[in-house]
Structures are given as structure tokens and as C-alpha cells.
Amino acid sequence: MINTLFRFLNLTFITLCILVVLSFALAYFFPGDTWLNLFGAEFIQDQPTLMLVAEQTNVLMAFWYYIQALLEGEWGVSFATGNALYPEIMRLLPATLELSLYAITIALVLGIPLGFIAGMQYHKKIDNIFMSSSMVMYSFPVFWLALLLILIVSLQAQWLPMSGRLSLLFDIPHRTGFILLDIWLSDVSYKQAALYDALQHLILPTLSVSFIAFAVFLRTTRRSVADVLQTEYIKCAQTRGLPSSTIFLRHVLRNALLPVLPLLALQISTLMTNVMIVETIFSWPGIGDWLIQAIYERDFPAIRAGMLLVAMVVVVMTLSLECLSQMIDPTRDRFAYARH
């Protein structure tokens, strides 16, 4: 167990190092001046000596300066706004995490139990209905789904708001960045109304992201339950005359859940892409919307910093889930593709 943990820490460290090297290399590949791309114009105007030093040093020394700056939280200055990037990204990240967290929770809570039902009814009517509808669900282009929801729910029926996180009427002090938590912690008089409004804003984006993830989780769970049901030990338990509830609770449930965790790890990067697209459509003030804005404005320091942080978050989350599933089930191949 400690061995596994150590190996994964090592892997995470190496991967993060490679990401930092890549982000440094990007500054050379982007059009324009390398040092401008790394730190942004204002930062270099403030520290002309550093610019002078930078021009005289070689690549390795430059990389050393870069790492020092990263560790000190000097992630550079945006071309477009002139703000320091690190605080700006840290302000945006919770919004993205919040959206992904709710979406993945809904997808898991609905997808896995329904997957179990479908798997227990393998190749029967309910299974067929679930399988065909999940196939339809994960064929939806996420941006089209989001637009359809806006068209139907927001524009035609006018039930829910179509953009943003919170109505402008409410003024909630920024504390954690998670909007529901912020409202909960704040001591404003309109807490109830603000909470209701924030929830209304959350529904459509969360629904569009979780729609597709739900279908994938349902299919994986169903596949793994069907696989477990065909094994010898289930047949053996049936011959021993165990009641089906015991078989399900003791043998099927735990064995079928094992392959779902690594799949969750693999889904994180897909989920992140979908979250970023949905953020743009719903003007959700998260890192995806911000990054896509940055590419329109050719804001190279912002792209580099945003890419570094998003990749780091995804890598750390995926690898820790991988590590967890390896510790639960040491026999499993690392990164073996789960089927669905």
C-alpha cells in the first residue's frame, strides 16, 4: 500500500514537472517575444533589470527563473487586462470546480443505481430501454444541448435564467468562490432569496454537463454488473441457494463497483472539456469561459497560466482517483481501458 502510494506520488510529481516544462516551452512556440509571453508587458516594465538579465542568460537559467517565479505566485500579467494572473485564476477556478462537482454528483447518483437496474435485467425490456436512451443521450453535442435548453426553458417558457451565476440584484461578498457556500456563509438579509436564485442559475448548466456523463456512467455500470453476473462465483452462490438479495449485496455490488472508479478517473478530462464549453454558452464566470476569451484576444500569458493550472488540476484529480482504485483493488492493471 505504501509502495503504491509512493509510486503514485512519484508519478504525479514527474507529470507536474513535465507540465511545467511544457508551459515554459509554450512561451517559445507562441508568436511574439518569449519573455513577454512568459510574464506579460507590465511585469517587465516594472522590473527592467530582470529583462536585461533574461536576455543575457541561456535557456536553462531562464527556466530556473521561471520556476522561482511560479513558486512565488508570480504567474505573469495578462496582456488584455493588465491584472496579475495568479489571483485572477484562483478567483475563477472555484466556479468551474463547483459546476463540475455538482454535475458529476448528479451523474453518479443517478447513473450508477440505474446502471445496476439495467445490469440486473440484462437483455430484458428495461435494460433495452435504458441502453437505447443512454445511447441517444451521449450522442448529443453538448453545445447544442445547452442551446436547446436555453431556447426551450429560458426563451420560450421563461422558467429559468439563461446566463451567469447570480442575479445582479444580489451582492454576495467573495469568500470561498463557491457561490452556494458563499451565500451560506454571508450574513445578508436576503439569504433565502439569493440561495434560490443561485440554484436557479445552476440548474441548466449542471443539467447539460451531467446529461452526457450520466449516460456514460450508466453504460459502464451496466456492463460491469452484466460481466459479474456471468462469473462462476455468482452461479456457485445461486446453487448454494442464497437468496438473491444476499447475492446482490454480498457478491454483485462490490465486485461490480470496482471498475467504475477508474472510469470516473478517465471521464474527468472529457467532463472538463464539456464544462468549459458549457461555461462559454451560459456565460458562467469560470476558467473555461476565461481561457476561450483569452484565445480570442491572443493573451498568451493567460493561455499559458490557465493551461498550466487546468492541466494540473485534472492530472492531480485523475491520478489520485487512479491511486485510490489501485489501493482498493491491487490486481487491476493501471490505466486499463474500462468498457462501456
Binding site: L26, P141, F143, I303, V315, F335
Partner: protein
């Protein structure tokens, strides 16, 4: 005249024929294949069928609804967009661009993926572990992030979008190839060929590849659906194909400004993407089940 030689008539289907006969028994899969073939035919023949150009602006016929609507015109069967461009024509060209660019992307990614997978599968130690590390990072990075980085370096455009999506697809094929090659290398028929003095490349081309083709087809089909979704999403975000090109995602992005008064301009291209992806997924799923059934018999 009836054939009397009953025993010689016995016919053993080739693996591909066996898979096809398994596939044919699933009616849904056959319907999916039908829809897919319909889209491919439309993509090829569509430009010949329509009298308009995708970029011609009919200024006298702006925002006309589809023909079944009371205000519709039979001249423009699926209506026109805000610049008076014929929707049906643009759908034909859009299907062509989206579908064929996805297929090309997947084919290129498949070639690179198989080559890398073979190298990773047949080698051990540092080289294999290096390839695995790089691929893990590539696989963990969200597709949109890879696309954003490539757009920042090379600029926006359909070719660059295809490059980004191809890069994101490569790890899938590498994993399939690597696992399969590893698994086969320990089998006896490979050992026989090795004892006959076959080189690694000959081993792969003559012994392993024929056994792997079906898996690659299944993976490739499923990858096409991912590629269609990603290419249209990048087009929608204005990072892929540019505004003048009638790509399906771009068409949806163009129609956003008139979404309220002309929703069909959003609905129809989206429906085309959705049906294409759905049919590809159904075919891929059917192929996978057929392959699995054939192997288990």
C-alpha cells in the same frame, strides 16, 4: 439442377463474414448503418443535387422558415439563414466538411497510434515507459485545452482543429494496440514465427495485424463519433473552421444572433450532427457486440 455433393458445399465463413452475419441480426445496428450511409451519400452527392452555392446570399429571401411552415417557400426547402443562404445546401456542404474531416482525422490518428502502440508494446524498459508517460499526459489533458494551445501557436482553422483532435485521439489507439500486442506476443503462434526467424516488423504485419483489424475498426468507428462532436464544438467556439466555411458547428454559432426568431437555423445543423453521431455510435456499438459474440462462440 440440385447439387448432390452435400459435403463439399459446407462453407466456413471468414472472420469478417462471421462478424457481418452477427451484425446483421441486430436490426437497430442495421438501421444505424443505413442512416450513416445516407449521410455519406448526401455528403458526396448533395452538392450535385442543389442548385445553390453554400455562400450565395439571396437578399430577397432572408430568414425564410422551412417549407412546411405557412411562411415557407418551396424554393428553399429547409429555409434560409440571416444572410439569405439556403439551409439545405449549407447542410449538404456542412455534412461533407464535418464528416469527412472527422474521418480523415481518425485515420491519421489511427496510423500514428498503431505505430506508437507497436513500439510501446514490443519494447520494454525506458523507451516503453517514456512513451507511456507522454501518452498519459496527452490523454489526461482535456481535448479543448490541447486545441486552445495549438490554436495559440498556429492560429485558428479547420486543419489546426483536426491536428488538435487527432493528437487527443492518438492515445486511444496506442492503448488498444499496446495491450493487444503485449497479449499476443506471449502466445505460441508468435513463438513459432519467431523460431522461423521473423523480424519484429514481419511479426507485426503478418501475424498480429490481421488479428487486430477488427478491434481497430471498432475503436476507429467510436473515435469518429468523438471527432465529429469535437470538430463541430471547436467550430462552434470559433476556434476551428472559420465563419465563411459551412461547417455544422460554425452554422450553429452563426445562427445564435437570430436564435429567437429563427430557431430552425440552430435546430437543423444540430440535428444533423446529432443524427450523424448517433448513427456512428450505433454502428460502433453493434460492431463491438458482434465482435464480442463471435469471439465468445
Amino acid at each position: 439442377m440440385p447439387d448432390t455433393s452435400l459435403y463439399e458445399e459446407e462453407h466456413y465463413p471468414t472472420p469478417l463474414q462471421a462478424t457481418w452475419s452477427e451484425f446483421r441480426q441486430r436490426h437497430v445496428a442495421v438501421v444505424g448503418l443505413g442512416i450513416l450511409i445516407f449521410f455519406i451519400i448526401m455528403a458526396i452527392l448533395g452538392p450535385l443535387l442543389t442548385p445553390f452555392e453554400p455562400t450565395t446570399q439571396h437578399t430577397d429571401a432572408v430568414l425564410i422558415p422551412p417549407a412546411w411552415n405557412d411562411n415557407g417557400s418551396i424554393l428553399h426547402i429547409l429555409g434560409t439563414d440571416a444572410l439569405g443562404r439556403d439551409m439545405l445546401t449549407r447542410l449538404f456542404y456542412g455534412t461533407q466538411i464535418t464528416l469527412f474531416s472527422s474521418i480523415i482525422t481518425v485515420l491519421v490518428a489511427l496510423c500514428f497510434g498503431v505505430i506508437l502502440g507497436v513500439i510501446a508494446g514490443m519494447s520494454a524498459g525506458l523507451r516503453s515507459s517514456f512513451i507511456n508517460h507522454v501518452l498519459d499526459i496527452l490523454m489526461l489533458t482535456p481535448t479543448l485545452l490541447i486545441a486552445i494551445i495549438i490554436m495559440a501557436m498556429l492560429g485558428t482553422g479547420l486543419t489546426n482543429a483536426m491536428l488538435a483532435i487527432g493528437l487527443a485521439l492518438i492515445p486511444r489507439f496506442v492503448h488498444v494496440t499496446r495491450d493487444f500486442v503485449r497479449q499476443e506476443m506471449s502466445k505460441d503462434y508468435i513463438l513459432t514465427a519467431k523460431l522461423d526467424g521473423a523480424t519484429s516488423s514481419a511479426l507485426f504485419i503478418y501475424n498480429i495485424l490481421p488479428n487486430m483489424v477488427e478491434r481497430l475498426i471498432v475503436q476507429g468507428t467510436l473515435a469518429i463519433s468523438v471527432a465529429i462532436l469535437d470538430i463541430s464544438a471547436l467550430g462552434f467556439l470559433n476556434l476551428g473552421a472559420q465563419t465563411l466555411m459551412p461547417e455544422l458547428g460554425v452554422m450553429i454559432a452563426d445562427a445564435l444572433s437570430t436564435a429567437y426568431i429563427a430557431p430552425w437555423n440552430i435546430l437543423l445543423p444540430g440535428l444533423a450532427i446529432f443524427l450523424m453521431v448517433l448513427s456512428v455510435n450505433i454502428v460502433g456499438d453493434g460492431l463491438r457486440s458482434a465482435h464480442r459474440n463471435r469471439m465468445s462462440h
